[in-house]
């Protein structure tokens, strides 16, 4: 390699973004790269915005990604993709789940959920949007949204498919392996 590659994973607390970043981290070390994964636990898990950074390459210093520094933004929710937009590197790629989850200021009526987010993102960036929730349901569990999205992202990396599947096998509990493998394939096929 090569320059450090920076992948930002954003979503809502409870959606399983941490597992996604751990699968990604686990996959890249199998290829011998240096890697740093930065998570924030605690308050942000309680339904708030959750941001995880994964950076890998020959030698990685900062565990965080700055504005304008993300090669890929993997978003578990539309509004969170929009919020993360300033972090995208020029020419970077946004992969987004079409799911919408109203944040509390929208629920209380203090603000409105922005309209046509997908359109706005596409106007300034290269965007692939999928309905990961439906695909997860097809795979057998709505909880597998994160692995559907991992599948979608897999093609944005130089990590071979077998490495991804092997990492998923060693990361998720055995009884959910079939669902997760199917979820990965469904996401992968959409990329």
């Amino acid at each position: 390699m090569k320059e450090t590659r920076s992948i930002m994973i954003v979503g809502v607390g409870g959606q399983g973004t941490l597992l996604a970043s751990r699968i990604l981290g686990g996959a890249v070390i199998r290829l011998g790269y240096d890697v740093k994964v930065s998570e924030v636990h605690g308050m942000s898990q309680r339904g708030g915005s959750v941001v995880t950074y994964v950076r890998y390459g020959d030698r990685v210093y900062s565990p965080i990604i700055d504005r304008g520094g993300a090669d890929v933004i993997l978003a578990f929710e539309l509004l969170e993709a929009y919020r993360a937009l300033p972090w995208l590197k020029p020419g970077g790629k946004i992969l987004v789940n079409r799911q919408k989850m109203d944040p509390m200021p929208v629920i209380t009526g203090a603000m409105q959920y922005p309209e046509r987010i997908e359109e706005k993102l596409s106007a300034v960036a290269d965007v692939t949007a999928i309905d990961a929730l439906a695909l997860a349901e097809e795979a057998g569990s709505i909880k597998a949204v994160n692995v559907v999205l991992i599948g979608l992202m897999a093609k944005q990396t130089d990590i071979p498919k077998e490495v991804w599947l092997d990492t998923i096998r060693t990361t998720v509990p055995p009884k959910f392996l079939d669902v997760n493998r199917k979820a990965f394939e469904l996401g992968y096929a959409k990329a």
């Binding site: 994964v37 965080i64 504005r67 304008g68 929208v106 629920i107 009526g109 709505i142």
Partner: protein, 583 residues
């Protein structure tokens, strides 16, 4: 073997390899996982526990070290405030087996009530402090801390920050070293800190700091990187990584792994070789002040903020004047997504009732601090662990009986044991009439489900004697103790009305387990009967993230992906319009 480890997990691995025998902590983000990870090592090798609070944890660790075993306690920055008393005096006593105090600061306040810089404690308590910048250093520095502790007869601080604790990077795993239990001998002059002995020990402590300074000059923990540049950067911890990312090999570095005491000579030698020297450190000008005191001209907080976390872009801009990479701007205002109580959270029922009754709510530290957020907006004050009860006592005494009858304290089960019980004793002893609501959700929720003395399980999930909150409250003199279910909102409201009206102190135990516990089995999903629903919005007042209003039609809708079927919204709907799917 290289493994990708959280900084916190690497500290645990380092302590394990260093032969630690005793670890006692109270959970606190971002430090919690260290002690959780410790509990994954064999119990024959290391005794691990959750203590009721940080002071108890530190005292237990100090005792274990005096008794000859290597010992550790881990806390977040505000936890260090709680344990400060034994820590300052243990600086005088020193150790038998090595003692390490791990403290994790939270710049940016991801999960904290203040942004204190714990490095000041090192200087104030005259205890050496190491600061790693990634997981590999977390492991290595933890081991070094134990060795230093025994070599210099002092406890040693290991300072982390959120980004170090919660970032994963590669670590080389090693085996456990053999550090046999040291002999225990009665030594009154060393271990009894009464004035006659402490006066002599203070002299030893000052001498120790001088010896540590000499050590720091040549210690491999402090490392100069000469890249032939004219600019020098003095830094430590995560800021070293940010600086390397931002400035690469264009500048020289003095990376300090030991941030107290600082070797003035090393600082002066480094600065002398550079035309300009910057100090890069988050929060306070701790290293900067030390440089200035040593007569070194440095640039620090004139160009760097005292607030929050740093980033490589910010450093690049401040030092090189280079603007950050161009980024895409978002023109419209995006609604924020603050943390909220989870769907099914038992606290939601409590705050719904407290808001309805318009009470003054003295709050505490835990998930339920979120009771201050809209739309519940119920909590009036949050200070620190335990303050909900003691602060309410002060409020009631200064504003009188009428005010006290409209005032409640809310505190979690774990927080109550931590330091709420002493406030309750204050109320009983000093004839208060306050009502305290213990939010008993059967777990320490906020930090991610740790057991505590009220859960009946140890950190290793072994059954143990369970503290009974009712007996405990009665034991300190509370005659009025009521247990109520916060999801039975009508009954709960009656109980609160009755207890706040009483002219004696009372405790309400709001009992319902955290919805995220595996033992909690809510099922199904709520659904709105469009014919019965009058769109009054009563259910929206719960602030449940699964309930929202369709912006077009105004109809109430329930998000199936989020709803867990807890049933609270069914209980508050005045028209019986909410049922369960399939019912």
């Amino acid at each position: 073997m290289k493994k990708l480890l959280l900084g916190n997990a690497a500290v645990a691995q380092g302590a394990y390899e260093a032969g630690v025998r005793f670890v006692s902590s109270y959970p606190g983000t971002p430090s919690t996982e260290i002690t959780e990870c410790m509990a994954t090592y064999p119990e024959e090798e290391v005794f691990v526990e959750w203590a009721p609070n940080e002071k108890v944890a530190a005292e237990a660790a100090i005792g274990a070290a005096i008794a000859g075993g290597r010992a550790m306690t881990c806390c977040k920055h505000v936890g260090l405030n709680v344990m400060a008393d034994p820590v300052f005096t243990d600086s005088y006593i020193g150790v038998g087996g090595g003692a390490v105090f791990v403290v994790a600061d939270d710049p940016g306040m991801h999960s904290s009530q203040n942004e204190q810089d714990s490095r000041h404690y090192a200087r104030a308590a005259k205890i050496p402090m190491l600061e790693p910048s990634d997981s590999a250093e977390c492991l290595a520095f933890t081991k070094a801390a134990f060795d230093l502790s025994e070599e210099f007869d002092t406890p040693v601080f290991l300072r982390l920050s959120t980004r170090v604790s919660h970032s994963q990077s590669l670590v080389e795993i090693g085996g456990r070293e053999d550090h046999p239990l040291k002999d225990y001998e009665k030594n009154i002059a060393k271990n009894v800190m009464m004035p006659a002995f402490a006066i002599k020990k203070h002299v030893i402590v000052e001498g120790r700091t001088q010896r540590l300074k000499t050590y720091a000059k040549t210690s491999p923990l402090n490392r100069a990187e000469d890249n032939g540049g004219k600019i020098g950067v003095i830094t430590a911890g995560i800021c070293y990584d940010y600086a390397k990312e931002a400035l690469g090999d264009r500048v020289n570095y003095l990376k300090l792994g030991m941030v107290f005491p600082l070797p003035e000579e090393l600082l002066r030698d480094f600065a002398g070789k550079c035309e300009k020297v910057y100090v890069i450190e988050e929060l306070d000008p701790f290293l900067e002040d030390a440089c200035r005191a040593a007569g070194i001209d440095v640039i620090g907080k004139q160009i760097f903020t005292l607030l929050g976390e740093y980033t490589p872009n910010g450093i690049r801009k401040a030092i090189l004047g280079e603007d950050p990479a161009p980024s895409v701007a978002v023109e419209e205002t995006i609604p924020g997504r603050p943390p909220v109580m989870c769907p099914g959270c038992p606290h939601r029922g409590t705050f719904y009732v407290l808001k309805k009754l318009g009470l003054t709510v003295s709050g505490d530290i835990g998930c339920y601090t979120l009771g201050a957020a809209a739309p519940l907006s119920s909590v009036d004050t949050t200070i620190c662990m335990g303050a909900s009860i003691s602060a309410a006592h002060g409020m009631a005494k200064v504003r009188g009986k009428e005010f006290a009858h409209k005032l409640v304290s809310v505190i979690g089960d774990s927080t109550f044991i931590h330091s709420g019980i002493t406030g309750l004793i204050d109320i009983v002893y000093n004839k208060g009439i306050n009502t305290v609501i213990i939010l008993d959700n059967s777990i320490t929720g906020m930090t991610g489900h740790q057991d505590n003395p009220t859960t009946g399980l140890t950190i290793r999930k072994e059954p143990t004697r369970q503290i009974d909150l009712i007996t405990l409250c009665r034991g300190v003199g509370i005659d009025r103790v009521t247990v109520a279910d916060p999801f039975d909102v009508k009954e709960f409201e009656q109980v609160v009305r009755r207890e706040i009206a009483a002219d004696e102190p009372s405790v309400i135990i709001a009992q319902r387990p955290c919805a995220l516990l595996k033992s909690v089995k809510y099922s199904g999903c709520a659904s709105v009967d469009a014919e019965k629903c009058r769109r009054c919005g009563m259910c929206m007042k719960l602030g449940c993230p699964a309930i929202s209003r369709d912006p077009g039609s105004g109809a109430i809708r329930i998000d199936r992906a989020q709803c867990n079927g807890c049933g609270l919204c069914q209980n508050v709907c005045p028209f019986g319009a909410i049922g369960k799917e399939g019912d």
